[in-house]
């Protein structure tokens, strides 16, 4: 009776054994890397309907974030500005860059055209997208000394805005476990200042302690409670 497998397959046995031993490790690493938000989300920079440049507006022109994102200190959402806000500068008749081809959609949205009636919104693509069961509140952070840059990165240097931080739960908790170093004194530095960094060493630690008291920041235990962010 001839054998089912030819003789040369004996050599494969070792190989199969090694592969079987390594496979779980490989898969775990692959999943951990492939599914982490660091891989999937950081750097996400979708094409926006209008090539709006934060580098130009916020960086070079120095427009404050809150000029457009008006609700950031009062509401849960910072708010994407209504088209009216763009028109404040780019109005027909007296505005800047009135004829720019990049702003066709904006002008159509506001003034209407043959193709589109006036009043249709501009469909901006959401970049910083938390899951629906996480309830982030901008006002709760910005009014307690957390600057925009902590979560959004150097938006003032972004020609096309991308997601700078992973926005994963473990990343949120890094700060919720130790909020002090991320705080700034709003009486001295604006929350929208992208360049400020805490002083190094002991001075930084002392400032963190002061600000935790000043803004009455809850204990890390409270900040890590499920109900702080989830409802």
């Amino acid at each position: 009776m001839s054998p089912v497998f030819p003789r040369w397959t004996n050599r494969l046995r070792v190989l199969v054994l090694v592969a079987a031993l390594l496979a779980p490790l490989y898969l775990t690493l692959l999943m951990a890397y492939g599914a982490s938000t660091q891989t999937t989300d950081v750097g996400y920079a979708p094409v926006q309907p209008i090539p709006y440049s934060h580098l130009l507006h916020a960086g070079e022109l120095g427009i404050d974030c809150r000029y457009c994102h008006t609700a950031v200190e009062t509401g849960a959402r910072a708010g994407v500005p209504p088209t009216q806000t763009c028109i404040n500068c780019h109005a027909q008749g007296h505005g800047v860059r009135q004829e720019s081809a990049k702003l066709v959609l904006m002008r159509e949205a506001f003034y209407g055209s043959e193709q589109r009636p006036a009043g249709l919104p501009i469909p901006w693509v959401r970049i910083h997208d938390l899951p629906d069961y996480a309830y982030f509140d901008h006002s709760a952070h910005v009014t307690r000394g957390v600057g925009c840059v902590e979560c959004h990165g150097r938006v003032d240097r972004m020609e096309v805005v991308y997601q700078a931080k992973p926005l994963s739960m473990s990343w949120c908790l890094e700060c919720h476990r130790n909020p002090g170093p991320r705080l700034r004194d709003l009486d001295q530095v604006s929350a929208t200042d992208m360049t400020w960094t805490p002083p190094p060493g002991a001075a930084g630690e002392e400032l963190a302690r002061q600000l935790l008291r000043k803004y009455n920041i809850r204990s890390p235990k409270y900040l890590q409670s499920c109900s702080t962010c989830h409802r």
């Binding site: 009062t74 849960a76 901006w124 409802r231």
Partner: protein, 1064 residues
């Protein structure tokens, strides 16, 4: 006895508290429910897919997971082009409006989230809401997003028939065409111009009862444009008997206003003023304010009624009396009281015999006499006018008028009664006099008296136009159906029960292009104003535009939703001289039913607590809301007393009965209700509408309107009731969440008494801390390390003395927390999802409900306790101790929180919860497989899986975005409305408040509660209301002996039976 155990025949002696007769008699069904570990498990799983299907599905989902796993779907942000100044995206805003039901308006504040209304709350500035609502107001927001609402005008081509000839719907199906509003406008212009040329001859309007001044104004304009047109008003649950009774007593129809906050003794004769009165929200609040005995005093409530109602369940003394005998009791009381007061109230002796013992009447009369000027009698709208007239005479003799009852003029004294109006209309249609009929809302084909035969008469009208939310029974026999704007989509106004003006403003553009009745009337009569806003503004201007700040006044009225000081002036009633004669017509009551089969019954038609007169039938929240008394969901049942059940041979709830009345017969399941009057059967109206009502209502309940005639719209004497030998499974929740423990039945029963603690006022005075001593609590040592709370410590207190069991909290919670509707079959398996339930316990022997009355004048035939139960957020929570994945944990402010993403669905927590307040999502429940919509048009995603309908885009709009929508396989429960806590806390800390003021954080249940029975707050704040209630001498904790330390304290219930001399 055939060996079967009837729940009625085998009562044990005394069992303390019990939920249902099944539990009391320990029937096999109840035992089976208890003993199965998961009563809701068996039929729960999907028909298992075969191995091959399983492999296919797994393969497919793995393959797809690779594609979908990268990032969730691309989302767009669409900001407004021009943002209104007062809107911040994501910040909810409240707008004032009014809700009208039964001809009286109640003020509301509606929360709008980014332009879509998501939650209804009461308007604190409105005198008949005072910030509170009932379950109908809470649930009305679901109707707004109902995908079954009609979207386009519909034209039906009926074959013209000569007048008078009866058409049968079956023989000639109509030609149905969808039209646009423009097409209707073109038709209306042509048609109504022709009608106008004839002066409106042959034109009639049938309207619902409405208090709207704008509608009244448009009515005047319409009748000016069409002088010969007739206007009829019909409301199936009319309160016209009350009006006619006042006409008899005072010579003109006056509207009575009860001042329950001033009444020490309240006597209700078949009047469910805590639930069904148009002013019930206010009345419930006024009544409950006198039940807390904070100053050692309480009011006392006597109720004489047929079925057990919510009002009856709050009574200190309650007697079940057949409806025809209510008048007899009142006559007897008039005689006795006349003797005592020395001024005869009733001329001569009553013709009939009083069904109650003389001692009962004597005791009542003595109590009333002792509280002259501080008592009141009230009679239900289903009682005939002469009974109302007699009650007015007694009230006058007791000097209640002006003290506890005041009167205002009826807003429309010339109007014929609703039943006369619909009868006249039917006769005129029959005679061929009506050629054009406009129906504004209402559903007369379903709810008009059956003997009028409107279903056959309406098709004979050449042109009939109906405006309604749904293309329903009535629309289907009209030539035109027009979609109506929901009240949250339309401008309007309405008067409260006392005439206070409220303005209704739209929260959203009409989703389906509907229009309001005033807009339709404006269109038909060629009014220059066409929009609802302009019409309402004009009406308002005509009434108030004489000052300098006209626009300011209007804007303030809009903002507040109510115009203060617009109530009608109080008038002093002028009694007709001399004592009344006993009512001749009704004195010959039906003979007492003889024992045995085929007995005569008095058939009572009652409004349904869930669907009212049927208008809310397609509202899933209301259908699944357990009736406060019967705990029936998804339908109705014939309510009979235990004695009647024994006589008829009804073995268990759900046995089918055949009830025959004047107009026909009806098959309906029986439900044995302790405290129901013997010899009568109560049939709740409004169910059984069939497919015309919409997908949700299509297969629920039994239509009772088929028995109702214009001669006897409230009661039929001599009705025949017999069992059919069939059975129908009623979806009641009354035995759900019961526990059988190792301690045995007797002990469980004993402990049930410890869950609800109550005492008479007398006992409370002698032992103010009785509630703490019901259970002996040894010094308990905790196995767990106690947590310290330095910040907030949230807690709740529920006052059982104030809770009337109305169930508004259940719907408020459902709306706030995105709680799904699961459908009748899931409820039968015990899988309803409500986070808060109202347990209703009976006490004592159920056989007292006989027309012979209670044996002693100081007893009551049935005692009821309502106990709202939701998660009590135990300090040592048993659920947390068994969760293998830490999906339920405590937060730093003492909330027992549920982490949906961690939950793997073991359900250990639910098993270990002693209060049974945790709910498991067996399916994705927004249109789960047993939701009526899934059963109507759901699709199964794969072979072997149950059908499931997608949630339509419109339905998704109703969700509260502040609360996670839970998916399949996770446990959920009350969160103390953590989203509301966080919203206030964030605002307080953003604005650097020194502290969060007490009373600013209000969970949805407490917000809705008309009696303020639920109080929420910070237990660490020594001045908070909830802290004071926790330290109240009536406060106790459920199952404190388990050392679980609940965060919710209950305040023991107090009763005030006569003899405790509370008022001295």
């Amino acid at each position: 006895m055939k060996g079967s155990r009837s729940p009625v025949a085998t009562f044990p002696r005394s069992r303390g508290y019990w939920r249902s007769l099944d539990e009391l008699a320990d029937t096999p069904a109840f035992r089976q429910w208890l003993e199965s570990e998961f009563p809701h498990l068996p039929a729960g799983f999907v028909d298992g897919p075969s191995r091959r299907q399983f492999l296919k599905l797994m393969g497919a989902s793995l393959a797809l997971a690779g594609l979908a796993g990268c990032r969730w779907p691309k989302e767009t942000i669409v900001p407004a082009t021009r943002q209104p100044g007062d809107r911040v995206p994501g910040v909810p805003v409240q707008y004032a409006t009014v809700f009208e039901l039964g001809g009286a308006a109640t003020g509301l504040l509606v929360t709008s989230y980014d332009g879509r209304p998501i939650k209804i709350e009461g308007n604190e500035k409105h005198p008949f809401s005072r910030g509170k609502t009932n379950h109908w107001m809470q649930a009305s927001i679901l109707d707004l997003y109902d995908p079954d609402r009609s979207r386009l005008p519909v034209q039906r081509g009926w074959h013209r028939r000569p007048a008078g000839e009866v058409a049968s719907e079956a023989s000639v199906p109509p030609v149905v065409r969808s039209r646009t509003w423009a097409e209707f406008e073109a038709f209306a212009k042509e048609h109504f111009d022709a009608v106008r040329a004839e002066g409106g001859a042959g034109l009639a309007v049938l309207a619902e009862m409405s208090s709207s001044p704008s509608l009244r104004d448009m009515q005047g304009r319409f009748l000016t444009a069409f002088p010969q047109a007739a206007w009829y008003e019909y409301e199936p649950l009319s309160r016209d008997n009350e009006r006619e009774g006042a006409r008899r007593a005072f010579g003109r129809p006056l509207r009575a206003h009860l001042h329950l906050d001033h009444a020490d003794v309240v006597v209700s004769f078949d009047d469910d003023f805590l639930m069904l009165h148009p002013a019930a929200v206010k009345y419930a609040g006024d009544f409950a304010a006198r039940r807390r005995a904070d100053d050692g005093r309480m009011n006392r409530l006597y109720v004489f009624e047929t079925g057990l109602t919510v009002t009856g369940s709050m009574a200190d003394h309650r007697c079940a009396v057949r409806p025809s005998q209510i008048g007899r009791v009142l006559e007897e009381l008039a005689v006795v009281l006349g003797d005592r007061l020395g001024t005869p109230i009733l001329n001569g002796q009553p013709a009939g015999e009083c069904p109650l013992a003389r001692a009962t009447i004597d005791a009542l009369a003595a109590d009333l006499q002792a509280h002259t000027g501080k008592c009141l009698l009230t009679v239900g709208p289903q009682q005939p006018p002469e009974v109302h007239a007699l009650a007015h005479a007694i009230n006058a003799a007791l000097r209640a008028h002006g003290a506890t009852i005041t009167f205002t003029d009826d807003p429309d004294p010339q109007r014929p009664t609703h039943f006369d109006a619909i009868k006249t209309l039917a006769e005129r249609v029959k005679a061929g006099e009506i050629r054009t009929l406009v129906i504004l809302g209402g559903n007369p084909v379903f709810d008009a008296p059956a003997d009028l035969g409107l279903a056959h008469l309406l098709p004979t009208i050449a042109c009939s136009v109906r405006l309604g939310l749904y293309d329903n029974e009535t629309s289907q026999v009209c030539t035109w159906h027009l979609p109506r704007a929901h009240y949250l989509e339309a401008w309007g106004d309405g008067l409260a029960w006392d005439g206070t003006l409220g303005i209704a403003q739209p929260l959203i553009e009409p989703l389906y292009g509907g229009r309001s009745p005033i807009e339709l009337l404006a269109l038909l009569c060629g009014d220059p104003l066409t929009t609802g806003h302009d019409i309402v503004r004009r009406t308002f201007g005509n009434a108030f535009d004489f000052g300098v700040n006209r626009q300011e006044l209007w804007e303030k009225a809009l903002h507040d939703g109510v115009v203060p000081d617009t109530a009608w002036p109080v008038v002093a009633p002028t009694s007709s001289a001399g004592p009344l004669s006993p009512a001749p017509g009704s004195s010959a009551g039906p003979p007492s039913p003889a024992p045995g089969a085929g007995a005569d019954f008095e058939v009572v038609f009652a409004p349904d607590y869930s669907v009212y007169d049927g208008r809310f039938a397609n509202n899933g929240w209301l259908q699944e809301w357990p009736d406060p008394i019967t705990k029936v969901t998804w339908g109705n049942a014939a309510l009979i007393s235990p004695a009647a059940a024994a006589r008829l041979g009804v073995r268990r709830n759900g046995d089918m009965l055949r009830v025959a009345g004047n107009a026909g017969a009806l098959e309906v399941p029986a439900l044995v209700l302790p405290g129901h009057a013997e010899g009568s059967v109560t049939l709740p109206l409004g169910h059984g509408r069939g497919p015309a009502a919409g997908a949700v209502a299509s297969s629920t309940g039994f239509n009772v309107f088929v028995l109702r005639t214009s001669q006897s719209p409230w009661m039929v004497t001599g009705g025949k009731v017999a069992t059919l030998g069939k059975h129908y499974e009623l979806a009641t929740t009354q035995d759900h969440h019961a526990i059988r423990s190792a301690v045995g039945d007797e002990e469980t029963q004993r402990r049930a008494g410890e869950l609800v603690r109550e005492a008479t006022l007398e006992h409370y005075r002698a032992h103010p801390d009785f509630a703490q001593h019901v259970v002996h609590l040894p010094q308990l040592k905790s196995l767990w390390q106690e947590k310290e709370y330095t910040g907030h410590r949230w807690g709740m207190a529920i006052d059982l003395s104030a809770c009337i069991g109305c169930g508004a909290c259940v719907i408020a919670c459902q709306a706030e927390n995105n709680i799904p509707v699961v459908g009748m079959d899931e409820v039968l398996m015990g899988r309803e999802m409500h986070w808060i339930r109202v347990d209703r316990y009976f006490r004592e022997d159920p056989r007292g409900g006989s027309s012979a009355g209670p044996s002693s004048p100081t007893s009551s035939d049935v005692h009821v306790v309502h106990q709202p139960v939701t998660c009590v957020h135990c300090e040592n929570a048993p659920c947390e101790q068994v969760c293998p994945v830490a999906a339920t944990v405590h937060d730093e402010e003492g909330l027992n929180v549920m982490v949906y993403n961690r939950c793997i669905g073991t359900r250990y927590c639910s098993n270990n919860c002693p209060f049974k307040v945790r709910r498991f999502n067996w399916f994705y429940n927004h249109h789960g497989p047993r939701h009526p919509r899934s059963q109507a048009d759901g699709k199964s995603k794969a072979p072997g899986l149950l059908k499931q309908a997608e949630l339509s885009e419109i339905e998704k709009l109703r969700h509260n975005p502040e609360v996670t929508v839970r998916s399949r396989g996770v446990m959920e429960k009350c969160t103390f409305c953590v989203q509301r806590i966080n919203a206030v806390k964030i605002k307080a800390r953003n604005e650097r408040w020194a502290k969060v003021p007490d009373g600013l954080i209000v969970p949805a249940c407490a917000q809705a509660c008309p009696t303020d029975a639920i109080v929420f707050g910070d237990l660490n704040d020594p001045d908070s209301r909830v802290r004071k209630l926790h330290e109240h001498n009536r406060a106790y904790h459920l199952l404190a002996e388990l050392n679980i330390k609940p965060r919710t304290a209950y305040l023991a219930k107090l009763r005030n039976p006569a003899g405790s001399e509370s008022q001295k």
